[in-house]
């Protein structure tokens, strides 16, 4: 059943739907409002749960008075730790597929408060208004304990985590003698960079509709990036067999990582539904969207030493980041620096501080979006100190092998990214001196930065059914969180079998479908796309065998390599009049349908001999009001090397959307804590700023040609994360170029610019 990947088992060269800007196949459902999200599936007799959130950051609940809430007509039940059913005991049972090492938070488990806004009660009522009203009548008393939420105050109380999470690589051991090399360097940069906590805030708030059936089974509509991850969590925690739970997430209103792990609302909805034996929906409020995972706050030091000619002689990158007390969340922050630049003396260090906050959670390009901005700002500072062009400095330290491992890159067209991006942006016209370009009161700055991300692949299974009507249905339990999965999978299937994209239906978002991993980390095209190709290859092989056995030999004895699948036919490539339609082949074989299933695995051996990644060069222009310090990003060019691009339209949207995220990180996004209360103070969309339309300029996305035969049979790497990685530093560097002021503290708000301008 396993389709063994062989090299070269590559997708054919362009010609079919792959590589074409096919419009989103789910576009019509989305523009007509017909696409239903987790809180939108109508269920008769539905009850609504509203969460009561903790008012303290750490301590014990000493009392919960639910009498007033229960007295409200329409309130069915109030769940607290006192009447919650006794469930699984072991941490293992509560760990989902993306859990780091530790003890996952268990909602309403006991009287302990571990972080501010932790759910402490769930009010269930017959209408959402009644539930919300009654939730305000629940009176909770606490015994507060001393908490710590301030990373800066506790940064010295840090530790080195081991391999605390799947996919995490601790920094490689030091090379050479970086401290000595730094001391001896011709030119030195040594600075501290900080980045605020950020919350994902997808537009759809996390919600779960849990439908309890009379036979004890459940249908659960959940906002998640992995229906099967949600299912296995429910099964483990509630002690149910997989057959009793079906999880559906056909549409997900954004996630960016927030749906990688099951969130409180899932547990609470399923608990209430199974206890009450009725359907229950729990929808978090926007403030409650700040009650779980987030991009961790980080403090970094980057020290660079270089010779006069710009060659790096010392590279030190140290990061300290928050995790919670109960789990050890880790991400790859510093390793990228050692991978991107050639240098003989390198030390990379990554440490954590435990705080009384919810456990952080992967957010778009986790780790890279934090670490790469620091090294890329430092490189800009070095370029300035050396009086070398920032692009040139990066090229002088370019590497075609990964210095961390000594392995070659499977492909790395970063040089082409720099060249094409610079050309499109007009970089050659840049005046190197800061404050040398202006338009009236506005200072203009141009900045550049590189980006890097992984090209991971997991294991997935897909099923394909080809019917006599010529329609192909392919399915796998993956997700489309806006990334374009529906569309690109349809394209891959259509390509292999020579069908128009309209003849293909791709199904996802259902835990009953063939196994697929959580959708995230830019690995879905690679992982699920390879499975789709593998299963369609099988269908193709069966069709060819049937055609070869047909009476009248329509293919005239042509071999498998001598035919093309196109336009719903098998065609002899050298003699196109010899052809037979797929449906005729099936009819002659007496088959009403062809059904196949296949699993795809990564090219383990070839991958283990290489470093795989996507790369980018980002060019940004800013205009800074000299008097007010306000920054506008007026132009961005992002040149991306990510292997073959299956759909340039949806891929460009991924990149430009991620540029918007980069603008947010550079200029706006920041979860602000009041450390006296241990609580975030800006937990809504009026106070937590994300870019709006007026903040976003035209964004020019370039995909450079890149051939990769190691990554997977598609040659495609996935583009969900790479788009953000270089952006914050490109903007920060542009602000320096505009103003001569170096702000190393993200987000770069106007107060920071004005304050340093005065210094």
């Amino acid at each position: 059943m396993i389709a063994k990947p062989r090299i070269p088992d590559l997708l054919p060269e362009p010609g079919g739907p792959v590589g074409r800007p096919v419009p989103r196949v789910d576009g019509r459902l989305k523009v007509t409002g017909a696409a239903r999200y987790a809180a939108e599936h109508p269920v008769p007799g539905l009850l609504h749960g509203y969460v009561v959130s903790a008012a303290i950051a750490r301590g014990r609940i000493t009392g919960i008075d639910t009498a007033a809430a229960l007295a409200v007509p329409g309130v069915i039940e109030v769940f607290t730790h006192r009447n919650r059913p006794d469930l699984a005991r072991f941490d293992r049972t509560w760990q989902d597929g993306d859990a780091p090492r530790g003890s996952p938070f268990r909602p309403l488990c006991d009287d302990e408060v571990q972080f501010s806004l932790q759910p402490v009660a769930l009010v269930v009522a017959d209408s959402p208004e009644t539930a919300r009203y009654a939730a305000r009548l629940v009176e909770v008393t606490y015994e507060a304990r001393e908490h710590r939420t301030d990373l800066h105050a506790h940064r010295h109380d840090s530790f080195t985590p081991g391999k605390a999470k799947g996919g995490f690589e601790p920094p490689p051991p030091p090379r050479g003698d970086p401290d000595r090399a730094l001391a001896l360097a011709d030119v030195r940069i040594d600075a501290r960079y900080t980045q605020a906590t950020e919350h994902h805030n997808p537009m759809e708030m996390h919600a779960t509709t849990a439908v309890y059936h009379d036979d004890g089974t459940l249908t659960v509509y959940d906002k998640t990036q992995g229906a099967q991850n949600t299912r296995s969590y429910i099964c483990k925690v509630f002690g149910l067999p997989a057959s009793a739970v079906r999880v559906l997430n056909p549409f997900v209103g954004g996630a960016f990582g927030s749906g990688l792990r099951p969130q409180h609302q899932l547990f609470l909805a399923v608990m209430a539904a199974t206890q009450l034996r009725r359907p229950v929906r729990v929808e978090l409020s926007r403030p409650q969207m700040f009650s779980f995972g987030h991009r961790p706050e980080t403090i970094q030091r980057v020290a660079l030493g270089a010779r006069r000619d710009g060659r790096l002689t010392a590279l030190i990158h140290e990061a300290v980041q928050e995790s919670s007390r109960h789990e050890t969340y880790v991400e790859i922050v510093v390793n990228w620096s050692g991978q991107q630049y050639r240098c003989d003396n390198v030390r990379l260090d990554y440490r954590l501080v435990r705080l009384d906050r919810a456990t952080p959670l992967d957010q778009r390009a986790p780790g890279a979006a934090t670490g790469v901005p620091a090294i890329e700002m430092a490189m800009d500072e070095l370029a300035f100190a050396l009086d070398v062009d920032p692009v040139d400095l990066r090229l002088r330290n370019y590497t075609d092998t990964d210095p961390n491992t000594g392995k070659p890159f499977s492909s790395k067209e970063l040089r082409a990214c720099f060249a094409q991006g610079a050309e499109r942006f007009g970089w050659a016209r840049r005046r190197p001196r800061p404050r040398s370009m202006r338009d009236g009161r506005e200072l203009i700055g141009w900045g550049v930065a590189a980006g890097v991300w992984d090209a991971m692949q997991g294991r997935a299974t897909a099923r394909a059914v080809l019917g006599l009507d010529g329609r192909l249905t392919v399915s796998s339990a993956t997700a489309d969180i806006g990334t374009g999965t529906y569309t690109v999978m349809s394209q891959i299937a259509a390509e292999v079998l020579g069908l128009p994209v309209e003849a293909v239906t791709f199904r996802l978002g259902d835990s009953d479908l063939p196994t697929a991993p959580i959708e995230g980390g830019s690995w879905t095209v690679s992982t699920v796309g390879s499975a789709v190709k593998a299963v369609c290859d099988r269908v193709r092989a069966r069709l060819f065998d049937l055609a070869s056995a047909m009476d009248g030999a329509p293919l005239g004895g042509a071999g498998a390599r001598d035919v093309t699948f196109a336009g719903g036919h098998i065609v002899v490539t050298a003699d196109p009049v010899r052809r037979v339609s797929l449906t005729d082949v099936m009819r002659s074989g007496g088959l009403p349908a062809i059904e196949e299933e296949a699993m795809s695995l990564p090219y383990m051996v070839a991958r283990s001999r290489h470093t795989l990644g996507t790369h980018s060069a980002v060019f940004a222009e800013v205009r800074v009001d000299e008097d007010l310090g306000t920054v506008r990003v007026t132009r961005v060019v992002s040149a991306i090397a990510a292997g073959r691009i299956i759909n340039p339209r949806t891929a460009a949207s991924q990149i430009s959307g991620a540029v918007v995220w980069g603008i947010g990180m550079a200029l706006e996004e920041e979860t602000i804590f009041d450390h006296t209360l241990g609580r975030c103070m800006n937990h809504d969309l009026a106070e937590y700023h994300v870019p709006v339309n007026a903040d976003v300029p035209e964004i020019d996305v370039i995909f450079v040609d890149e051939r990769d035969t190691v990554v997977n049979p598609l040659g495609a790497k996935g583009v969900g994360e790479i788009g953000i990685v270089g952006v914050p530093a490109a903007i920060a560097n542009a602000i320096f170029h505009a103003t001569g002021v170096r702000v190393r503290d993200l987000p770069i708000t106007l107060d920071k610019i004005l304050m340093r301008q005065e210094e």
Binding site: R28, P42, A69, S127, A134, S285
Partner: protein, 175 residues
């Protein structure tokens, strides 16, 4: 906080009242509690879930609908306050199978990713066209800034609206 036990006799939820709205051209009468927002009335009582909830506090624009042709945030108004008015939601933009030009342009310009903000963007854009104030791309950006798109589909949204504006200008249609 006072130590005394809270009264166990809270005010009961308000009694339902009748509200009549014209929704997407059809008159609909609902019996709903007066504290029900227009947004929840649409989503929960009329099963028109195309109108989205992104904050419930007037901060994101996901709930934008047209009331008597003007764009408003449906989460910031109670359904009873709209008695007798005509509400157009995303479900009411198309004419049968024929999509509204904005809907077509959103698909063509890939002005959406997850699609969750999209209905609000579309209704807001329809309102913007009717207002007739936008002349340039920067006007569009400014006047569409009440609608957050966390996926960052803004460049596509601007392109889509511009293409419809341009088409109307050449066709000589009223905006």
């Amino acid at each position: 906080m006072p130590d005394s036990p809270r009264s166990t006799r809270p005010a009961p939820p308000p009694e339902p009242v009748a509200v009549t709205l014209t929704v997407n051209g059809a008159e609909r009468t609902l019996k709903i509690a007066p504290w029900t927002s227009l947004l929840d009335a649409l989503r929960l009582h009329l099963d028109l879930t195309g109108t989205k909830k992104g904050c419930d506090h007037g901060q994101c624009g996901a709930c934008t609908v047209l009331v008597d042709g003007r764009r408003i945030n449906a989460c910031l108004t109670l359904a009873v306050m709209q008695e007798g008015r005509s509400v157009t939601t995303v479900e009411g933009l198309a004419r049968g199978d024929a999509l509204h030009p904005l809907q077509e342009a959103f698909i063509a310009c890939d002005a959406l990713q997850c699609g969750y903000c999209t209905p609000g963007q579309l209704c807001s854009a329809a309102g913007l066209l009717a207002e007739g104030k936008a002349r340039s791309d920067d006007d569009i950006r400014e006047l569409m800034s009440g609608n957050i798109c966390r996926c960052g589909a803004y460049p596509g949204i601007v392109a889509a609206i511009r293409s419809v504006m341009n088409r109307r200008a050449t066709d000589g249609d009223a905006p």
